[in-house]
């Protein structure tokens, strides 16, 4: 069983010549996720969501605090879906899948083909990424993340560059493939509807990278964005954001 343990995670970017002001991306985030849970991290731009994922993925160093991502006591394998597809443009779709596969075997290719078929892309495995539409490229990105048999799945606003209809069909793919594997997932988004539709639990961040709320979403799956129950949770999430903003503004006036 995979566990993500985050303690007092802080990240401060020093001023640079191009942006001469220091930026606090994360201000002491603590949380723990265990088991087959789908957690959405919800927040506006500048609330340190991408930084959080990068640190959890181990590609960025925190300024302070600690992260442990373990599976049965050993470091967990991470699968990452990025905001953009991030495929090697000079390799075919299938070769892009094999590029990230570290445990090579005779089954490697068949596994890659299986996950491509899960996202409906069996027919384009031999094509280059530039020959696919943006939505298809992102589907390759999703299949790639599942291919490494991850204990933990990290997703950074994977549908934010899509138009609304494409995003909707991709969310369906994600729900289907996640139901098949049920990996521990950390899903970063700024879209309230998306968070409620996908997540078991929603972690809310405010600018400066501070967690201000954490609510469970106990709704049956599969969920549709137009369900009344989904709407009710969305409304509640938005209400909490509004009261947070009001509190911040009120605090400013008091100082």
């Amino acid at each position: 069983m995979a566990t993500i343990l985050i303690e007092n995670l802080t990240k401060v970017y020093p001023p640079t010549p191009t942006y001469p002001q220091q930026v606090q991306a994360l201000g002491g985030v603590s949380m723990s996720v265990t088991g087959n849970v789908f957690v959405a991290v919800l927040g506006p731009s500048g609330s340190g969501k991408t930084t959080l994922l990068n640190i959890v993925a181990g590609v960025e160093e925190p300024t302070a605090g600690a992260v442990r991502v373990v599976q049965d006591g050993v470091p967990a394998q991470v699968g990452y879906v990025f905001q953009e597809p991030r495929l090697l443009p000079w390799r075919s779709v299938l070769d892009n899948m094999l590029y990230v596969q570290n445990r090579k075997s005779d089954r490697s290719k068949r596994e890659a083909e299986f996950y491509l078929s899960m996202v409906g892309l069996s027919d384009v495995a031999h094509l280059y990424p530039a020959q696919l539409s943006a939505g298809m490229q992102q589907r390759v990105g999703i299949a790639r993340a599942f291919l490494v048999n991850p204990d933990v799945l990290l997703m950074d606003e994977p549908f934010s560059h899509m138009d609304a209809l494409t995003g909707r069909s991709l969310r369906d793919y994600l729900q289907r493939i996640w139901a098949h594997t049920r990996k521990t997932a950390l899903f970063v988004t700024h879209d309230v509807g998306e968070a409620v539709e996908l997540a078991d639990r929603i972690l809310m961040l405010r600018p400066g990278g501070v967690v201000f709320d954490d609510i469970p979403v106990n709704l049956p799956r599969p969920r549709r964005p137009d369900d009344a129950a989904v709407h009710a949770v969305e409304t509640e999430v938005l209400r909490r954001f509004d009261s947070m903003e009001a509190a911040v503004r009120f605090g400013d006036q008091r100082n």
Binding site: V59, Y80, F82, L88, Y99, G120, L127, L154, S169
Partner: protein
């Protein structure tokens, strides 16, 4: 110093991106057909040549050069005791060229990989490579022939030293131009170093690497000729100098034509194909079916 941007990339010739590449064949007027343009270019060159011959007696005429070429290639007599020689000098020069490039291109490629792939190596090695790049090939040629005498070492060393910086600079600037997001992606998936080097760095910078190979071929051929001209007693450069010293300018011009033919053949048969292969992924037509079609 940033000379990387000053590098001439011969691949840029003849095709300017962003402009339409012409209309369907049946609509093309005969003055726009490739054969006409080619013939026109050749005609212009021949007319300019003949004009130069008519105003300057030291420039040989076209038929003088052609008949000289026949004798030199066929091994006939140039009059008096000297005989035509072609395959001998050519095979000696080609050997030197091949050995030099076989050393210089891998070494330059490795340097380019290190400089492009690691900031530390870059800070240490970058200036040295740039100094090597800026050094005119004539200096290499002179230094090599002073150090190694008239044997085959000097030309080989000159070829190596010319090829290395071109290869290194082109490959490393290609690598540095890669999307940093792809490196981050490879970090996140814990892709091992070796696979990352071959698939991400070399794969992504392959077209730059090929440009580097092309420039290395072109410029080191030039260095080879200079060394052979000044510092050896064999090879094609020496042969051209032989006719120059004998005041037989038709012989000299004939050899220049052979150099041009050699480089052109090399370019068409090897380098252009390499380049085409390395950029294949950019040339594929895009599929245009709707997103929801498969869903």
């Amino acid at each position: 110093m940033s000379y990387a941007t000053d590098l001439p990339t011969t691949s840029e010739f003849g095709q300017v991106p962003g402009t339409p590449q012409g209309s369907p064949a049946e609509a093309v007027h005969w003055t726009r057909k490739p054969w006409f343009v080619n013939a026109l270019a050749v005609a212009i060159l021949l007319v300019v040549w003949q004009y130069l011959h008519s105003v300057n007696g030291r420039v040989p005429s076209i038929d003088e050069v052609v008949s000289f070429l026949g004798v030199e290639l066929g091994g006939g007599s140039h009059g008096g005791v000297s005989r035509g020689e072609f395959w001998g000098p050519l095979s000696i020069s080609l050997q030197r060229y091949a050995i030099g490039l076989a050393i210089g291109i891998p070494v330059g490629g490795l340097l380019g990989l290190l400089i492009g792939g690691s900031r530390r190596f870059r800070s240490v090695l970058n200036d040295t490579v740039l100094v090597l790049l800026v050094l005119p090939s004539v200096v290499w040629a002179f230094a090599a022939s002073l150090w190694f005498g008239i044997g085959s070492t000097a030309p080989v060393v000159a070829v190596v030293l010319t090829a290395v910086p071109f290869m290194a600079v082109n490959l490393s600037s290609g690598i540095r131009g890669l999307d940093p997001g792809l490196a981050l992606m490879s970090d996140a998936f814990r892709v091992p170093r070796l696979r990352r080097a071959t698939h991400l760095l070399v794969g992504g910078a392959l077209s730059n690497a090929v440009t580097g190979v092309r420039l290395a071929f072109m410029t080191s051929w030039n260095s080879l000729l200079i060394v052979e001209w000044f510092g050896t007693a064999s090879g094609v450069g020496w042969r051209a100098k032989h006719w120059y010293d004998a005041q037989r300018f038709e012989g000299f011009v004939a050899w220049i034509l052979l150099f041009v033919v050699f480089i052109t053949l090399l370019d068409w048969l090897v380098l252009r194909r390499l380049e085409h292969r390395s950029t294949r992924w950019q040339q594929q037509p895009t599929l245009t079916f709707a997103e929801g079609e498969i869903a």
